[in-house]
Symmetry: D2
Subunit: 381 residues, 4 copies
């Protein structure tokens, strides 16, 4: 199966890390560490399901900025996000990759813009003779949009898009992807495909979608620690944390509205797993000097037998781009395979990958894993 | 079902905390926080299986020290391990509890000692008209004993016990428990029932056993964090930790031989979950001033996509006695119920409770939970 | 020398902890741990200077709430801030202490209110035949007040106080204290005596003042860690932190304006010591469950030789009231002694005690200590 | 003033980092971050004292291993200890530096070996027309040597050195340095110059010496945090820590005897500053994967007012070589300058740089700084 991944935000840190990695994996320069689809337990099932191999995977995408991918990759190499030697070894491939990138188009009306986006994606699919393409949003986090009546059904949305801007960029990308017959994944906490009108379009066109907000750091730890307390029947009183991060994503999150969207997404796991919301909040602070390696600190206070008070602290020091990139490749391959297997609409079985997953699946990482393995098994039969 | 729990080490911190808790639960003075058998997901299944209610649970035991239980409970109250107000409210019950405690007997030969222990347990069962009694070892950790040919089969063991001391105290207690027709649980990393001769005796007498080494702190966190790395296909390079603790258990672990037994038990989870052993060790240091509230710190370094290095640290500040005590009550109730349901030999389904569980079950906490729920379901049918 | 300490906020946690401590020290029930004036290096100098002994120290004060001191002390005992056994042993003294407490008076105009406050303080001084009284503000943090022309000189202030409310409560207390011939200390980041008109009054009446914002936790650590980097010629790039606290002070700091005043005070030490302001901020979050034992976490990233990046993290888990209370006793005794030694106006030599000290003294703790020792030596000669 | 630094262990991480740095500073490629002698407060005093400028500083040394310096520097560049671009820019200078390195000589008797070492150092001094040379030991830590009567006076030592090996390598290097008329600094916890016979030789030949054990990480933090508790009259109950490190120094410290020497050195600061020894120990564990960036974690528990228990934790994540290297340059320049200023025997004024300083100076970093500034002032007058 030949698969395409079309990235919205294709010149950003996550996208370029994923691109360097995909090229390095194709050239057999690295091991697929961090790629969930290459886990010993999943890989054989997915091979049987015809998941795209590294040589059958092509990446393209849109971006609003013009930074050359090679230049961005070199900057990531200098920052320690990707090995500088890999960037040097893949310089020619990274330059050639420019041919599959496009400036994010803008039309007179949102309907026109969506048409231009869809045309770019369609041309990419045809140029590379791809069986399936997944569009993945890895651009920066948007504020939550104001509600609009046109979000409620597809007919209203279509007529509104001709008249006025009613969709935030992430939702417009989902609209364009579905229109082009592609699956859509939102790796951010933005709206993406989560509108009734878009759900209707996905079903109408027989395409799947997944999201939201890739689970890469502090929330990943939460999704295994919170079940520990629940299974042991311990009462969590406080769960407070702070994330310090620089880089482009950090700068964007200095905007209070985007920050609020992200923070809400980070706390959902606690009430989902525990059945109640402990005190405390999860803060995100932009500190330019921290750069791509985020530091998150969490304090958890809990009560044990006879009410005895205890506590856990953890510090997570991780590179968000390096944690996100292999998941982007995983999600592209899985969504494309799901589409070929005939799936349309939401893919709640991919909850393993997200902070704020679609559907009502469990928020505990291990249950999500079991669901994912079942999903992989289903694809192959 | 009327159930007894007979504690080896009945005047120690864990035992007295469990006793205060059992009395407080019977008197409805507290919620069963930390009792796994009272989790919303397990409690209905176990009620259907006839698990002993709090008013049907009686505690007795042996100890080598004569400290009055009320005095020990008051000391635990002053140290913040149990609420002082509970100790005051239960003073009469704690004094009456002395009637069910015995000095650990010693005979001319180990066979005699075992006979005296079994007689005490049998008298306890008859005095309280109990359907089933589980003997639980909560005394301090022993060094690993030298191997002996008599450990290999029951006939050899029986003749050896008349002649010479061949069993460490924990194994002698298991021998006595099985002889008295009781189940046995080892909450410590000591030998306990883990000898072929004892396994033979358990099967012969139709009694179950479980262990080893209650999973209360740092290892509990390991059992959820290690799967996180495995599921995400991240490579753990280093997992190093240190446990600082005072109290009686801490003092005992200052003995290098006991320390070695405990440390080995603490690292097993990593190789079991990850399939390889990361670098690093888990240290245990005795610091008298730390008292009952242990502090453990762990550093985990790991490689992600393209080999990028990242790290997590956690600090666990917990009260071992308060974490262990509800599990002791859980294990007593579950083992007694298993015996009445006809189970004999090892109970690998109780792996959820142990650092170094019997049998080959998964080391991941969530899989262990699933197994436990299935076990509970089986008991009730 | 007989000395009085008159506390604004006399029924709050800090004040009651200080009161319990002063009574316990007088009764020789405890050691003076945490009292800087009892350090081996300072105590002989201060004894020579005639510093008030524990039996010559009397506490009184104002508060807006009517909670009985004994009841508050019992609550502090239950929370582990003070030993419950001390509260029980001092119950009679704590009840008798009510005789020296007054409701915070309010007049028709601020001039009237100040007169009533001054009258209460004067009556306290005469009733106990005190040589000197220091008024200390330990009430909750105020927002920064709007500027007002009447703050600029004493004559303007006096006429304005008759007409309209121009002073925040902390400054009105300073005005009243100075009017009554008493020294004033502000243990909070509020305005206190820091207005030109109040400085003028202090000089006119020959009374000293000190402040602001007692250095009890995270900032105390900053005041020794920041000099470490400076002395080693290492470059601090980021210093970010978060303080999680409950209790009354925490609730007040949930107010953004009060929070801003406190945060500014906490960061001043860095630019003072380092000569530049690193990136990052110091946050304060109210988490009710955390109670009186604050947890603060700080991340410091720095560059060493040839630009190599390194980092330090620390977690401070302290009880603010227990850290503040001995300093309140120290400051009362020292300010009273300074007044008798003829000092008027600001006491920059007390910078050791404050986050945001008056005057231009060094922000490094050890230099502040040297200054304090010289000050003590000066008092005794 | 032209100054030489002769390093024992000249091909190790610390030495090569110092060499790269010295060359980079001479070429004005970097700022002197981490060089204490370049602090704004010290630099003018030292310039007045004629301290060697970067262009007047020459490095040479002995080593037992033959690894080319450029190759070692490239490895340090790959590990992030020094910037790889600096190593590339200085490749020619690093190759030329080989001319000033010698294999550590060995003679028939220790007297012969010392003679050969001294001859190498003397030839280096003459070849570069140096006014003064300081020999600095940066090789790995030795176990404490057995006592020997020949250590007591110079005459006994001289005759013993002909017959039998009585000195550990660090002391033999000091003997050779003094014999060659050079100062000696021990940057390790090894014996170095700390024997009466060597002291006698230093005085006889009019040369100074300094040590021991460069204060680079956890102990540096201790030397500012411990005074904080002392100055605030708080009681430290526990101070326990663990150091995880890889690299050459880490491997050596896996040897229990060397480890013991280092651990003792690390704890001395606490009893020196506090006047008592808190409970707890400081462990050092070798974890190969950790490499050059050491992680140290410390837990401090302390009692405040009325005995209230509190705690601080810190994690230090630093590169030992990058922290040590500028101090090596500082110590070489300062010791050489002290010799030219006529100083002979121990230099206790350099305590600022050491974990276990010679002489009885204060263990608090700020007092040590004051002493260092006075020393610099003395050199210039």
């Amino acid at each position: 199966m030949r698969t395409g991944i079309w990235l919205i935000g294709a010149r950003g840190s996550v996208a370029v890390t994923a691109t360097v990695g995909a090229l390095a994996l194709r050239a057999r320069l690295v091991e697929p560490t961090g790629c969930v689809t290459e886990s010993p337990a999943l890989a054989p099932l997915l091979a049987a399901a015809g998941l795209a191999g590294w040589s059958d995977l092509v990446i393209g995408g849109h971006d609003v900025v013009p930074t050359p991918v090679l230049k961005k990759a070199e900057a990531l190499g200098a920052a320690g996000v990707v090995p500088a030697r890999l960037v040097a070894a893949l310089a020619a491939e990274l330059t050639a990759h420019e041919d599959d990138l496009r400036a994010l188009p803008a039309g007179a009306a949102q309907a026109d813009t969506a048409g231009l986006i869809a045309a770019d994606v369609t041309a990419f699919r045809e140029r590379h003779a791809l069986d399936s393409v997944a569009v993945i949003n890895v651009s920066t986090t948007e504020p939550a949009p104001p509600p609009h009546p046109a979000h409620a059904d597809l007919a209203s949305l279509r007529s509104a898009l001709i008249r006025e801007p009613v969709l935030p960029p992430s939702a417009l990308a989902a609209y364009a992807a579905f229109s082009a017959g592609c699956g859509y994944v939102d790796f951010t906490p933005s709206t993406g495909a989560r509108l009734p009108a878009l759900h209707e379009l996905a079903l109408a066109n027989g395409v799947p979608y997944a999201g939201n907000d890739g689970k890469t750091g502090e929330t990943l730890v939460k999704s295994v620690l919170a079940p520990m307390f629940a299974l042991r029947n311990l009462r969590v009183n406080t769960w407070s944390g702070i994330n310090l991060l620089g880089g482009g994503d950090g700068a964007n999150l200095a905007d209070p509205a985007a920050n609020a969207a992200k923070v809400a997404s980070k706390q959902r796991v606690l009430s989902d797993v525990l059945g109640y919301q402990p005190q405390g909040t999860s803060r995100i602070d932009y500190v330019e000097d921290i750069g791509d390696f985020k530091t998150a600190w969490d304090l958890i206070t809990f009560s044990g037998f006879l009410g005895t008070g205890m506590r856990v602290e953890f510090t997570w020091h991780g590179c968000d781009s390096a944690l996100a990139a292999p998941l982007v490749l995983d999600l592209g391959r899985l969504t494309a395979a799901a589409q070929l297997a005939g799936r349309a609409g939401p893919l709640p079985e991919l909850a393993f990958f997200f902070k704020d997953p679609l559907g009502s699946s469990s928020a505990g990482l291990t249950e999500q894993w079991t669901t994912l393995v079942d999903f992989a098994r289903g694809l192959s039969t």
